[in-house]
Symmetry: C2
Subunit: 122 residues, 2 copies
Amino acid sequence: MYTRKIKENLDCGILVAAKVFGGKWKLCVLDAINRGFVRPADICRYIDEASPRVIEMQLAELLFFGVIEKCAEDVYPKKTEYKLTALGESILPLLTQMDKWGTAHSEFIKERQRELEESQSV
Amino acid sequence: MYTRKIKENLDCGILVAAKVFGGKWKLCVLDAINRGFVRPADICRYIDEASPRVIEMQLAELLFFGVIEKCAEDVYPKKTEYKLTALGESILPLLTQMDKWGTAHSEFIKERQRELEESQSV
DNA sequence: ACAATACCCGAAAAAAGATTCGGTAGGGAT
DNA sequence: ATCCCTACCGAATCTTTTTTCGGGTATTGT
């Protein structure tokens, strides 16, 4: 298991929040679950840009921090389902706001990004 | 100059937002500027956990994406000041909400983190 | 029995991100 | 002249994160 070399600082709220949902795909996973894609294979299909492995890992972390919970663990056939806990639900407003912000400024940011890429390729 | 190897996807709002303020210190820098630490040296002293270099780099990125702007560029002695643009201001509510969330759940998350560290050190 | 699917996990490799180091350049004070 | 401060930047290095690859177990449909 990987252990950090640099000590983490969780002294301010922003850093705590970043710790919990700061991974590349964590918010996407929460979004997927929120939209009803609750089984691992469904989430993977929904977020097909990410590798299944990374989604598993992010699910594991979200589970560890109590943001989601796992159901039907010992039922066969395995029909694992994840759902948001109260803590997870409390993130939704933030998720929504971030999504709104990003969508609202999407064109502007994309345009800047294009410029950057062009200047690099020359 | 560094160019990414994996193509970026900015198709959903969350990914756009993550792109703009997803760095390790970006939100901290915005917070610092918002609190009145507007000169590079001041920001560095305020966020003394981060190296000055990384703060410069994050400032450059925030500048590039139009989240902050730079004043007094050609005045000597150099008294560079950064301030939030309208776009930057529009992030503040999110910043506040994230900080609130993190602060509210700080103890719980820290406790989980402690457990994780203990289990690793055994 | 066989193939396909779901779920989960370890470990190496690749990529991205952060940090350190050293340097430039100008201003101000002693 | 020397020293310290501010601002900035390139490049090597180190750390962290993500990805890829391969494996394992169990179930379902044919």
